[in-house]
């Protein structure tokens, strides 16, 4: 790395990239106007870096696999069912759960921007936000799935759900065979992030 030595004998602090300075400028201006509280920003970052992530969604899926009453409630009104577990959208969005079966495979995209069920899955991965995925998920979902290593039987229909600012989707993947009698805690690690977006399947035990 040719720039490494700069870290040691640089005469001044390393200048952040242009957009980083623009963000600092906005923060300074809004703080001076009393419109934002810098401590609240730190708390939001801490929440998304450390507290919210795919393990929330995995908890919901593992519960749906093991508790028929919860599964029914989740399919009926996911927003209400997950908020009872303490997961709710801070942007006021609704969550809809869609269940994968032998007949139907669901996958989720946001063709507009990158709407995503943050409370259940955290911040979306880069590929979810890319033009390539956003454009192709709708046009050629089977091809996209194949690139993720998912090949489905011919008779399985693929349904693609386009998220919006108001409605976000959680895919309930199929429970893997060989997990009969497993507890929620044992099942959770099998529920990968991609399986809840529909670009993957739940891991096999």
């Amino acid at each position: 790395m040719p720039h490494d030595h700069h870290d040691h004998d640089h005469p001044h602090a390393l200048l952040p990239p242009d957009p980083a300075l623009r963000v600092k400028a906005l923060e300074t201006l809004l703080t001076r106007k009393g419109l934002i509280d810098p401590a609240a920003l730190d708390e939001i970052i801490d929440t998304y870096e450390n507290k919210v992530g795919p393990k929330n969604g995995a908890h919901v899926v593992a519960l749906a696999w093991t508790d028929p009453a919860f599964r029914a409630a989740l399919l009926q009104d996911a927003t209400a069912a997950v908020s009872e577990l303490g997961y709710y959208g801070r942007q006021g969005e609704h969550i809809i759960a869609v269940e994968n079966t032998a007949a139907d495979h669901n996958m989720v995209v946001c063709t507009l921007c990158s709407c995503y069920p943050w409370p259940l899955l955290g911040i979306p991965p880069g590929w979810y936000k890319s033009d390539a995925y956003r454009a192709r998920a709708v046009r050629e979902p089977r091809k996209v799935l194949a690139e993720f290593g998912v090949s489905l039987p011919e008779e399985t229909a693929v349904r693609v759900w386009d998220s919006t600012a108001e409605v976000r989707y959680l895919v309930i993947p199929q429970r893997p065979a060989g997990t009969e009698g497993w507890s929620v805690q044992e099942l959770m690690p099998l529920v990968t992030r991609d399986s809840m977006i529909g670009t993957g399947l739940a891991a096999r035990p």
Binding site: L15, P19, A25
Partner: protein
């Protein structure tokens, strides 16, 4: 499976938090934000295929700057002035010292 960082760059995290905070304190609603962001992304996507990383947050920043300017919350000249002030502060601060704006 390699764990991916939630935010690749500190400024991505700051920008995300700033936007969420402004939404939560009622300065704009999320559907309005998403519609505007979608327009910027579509616009940027005309000239190149966006990779969902750095260019995604550049589009996010541009959207927030124009929204705040339009709402009279952050005037473009004032933002530009503060950006220059931060740049000068970085260049004037000895390496290793905390960077602050002059009072």
């Amino acid at each position: 499976m390699t764990p991916e960082p939630v935010f690749e760059q500190p400024w991505h995290a700051q920008l995300f938090a700033l936007t969420v905070h402004l939404n939560e304190t009622g300065h704009f609603d999320w559907p309005d934000w998403a519609a505007r962001f979608g327009v910027t992304l579509a616009d940027h996507g005309l000239t190149k295929d966006l990779n969902g990383g750095e260019d995604y947050f550049n589009a996010w920043l541009e959207t927030l700057e124009s929204l705040l300017a339009e709402r009279g919350l952050a005037d473009a000249d004032a933002v530009q002035g503060l950006k220059s002030a931060w740049q000068a502060a970085y260049l004037d601060t000895p390496h290793g010292q905390p960077v602050q704006l002059p009072e």
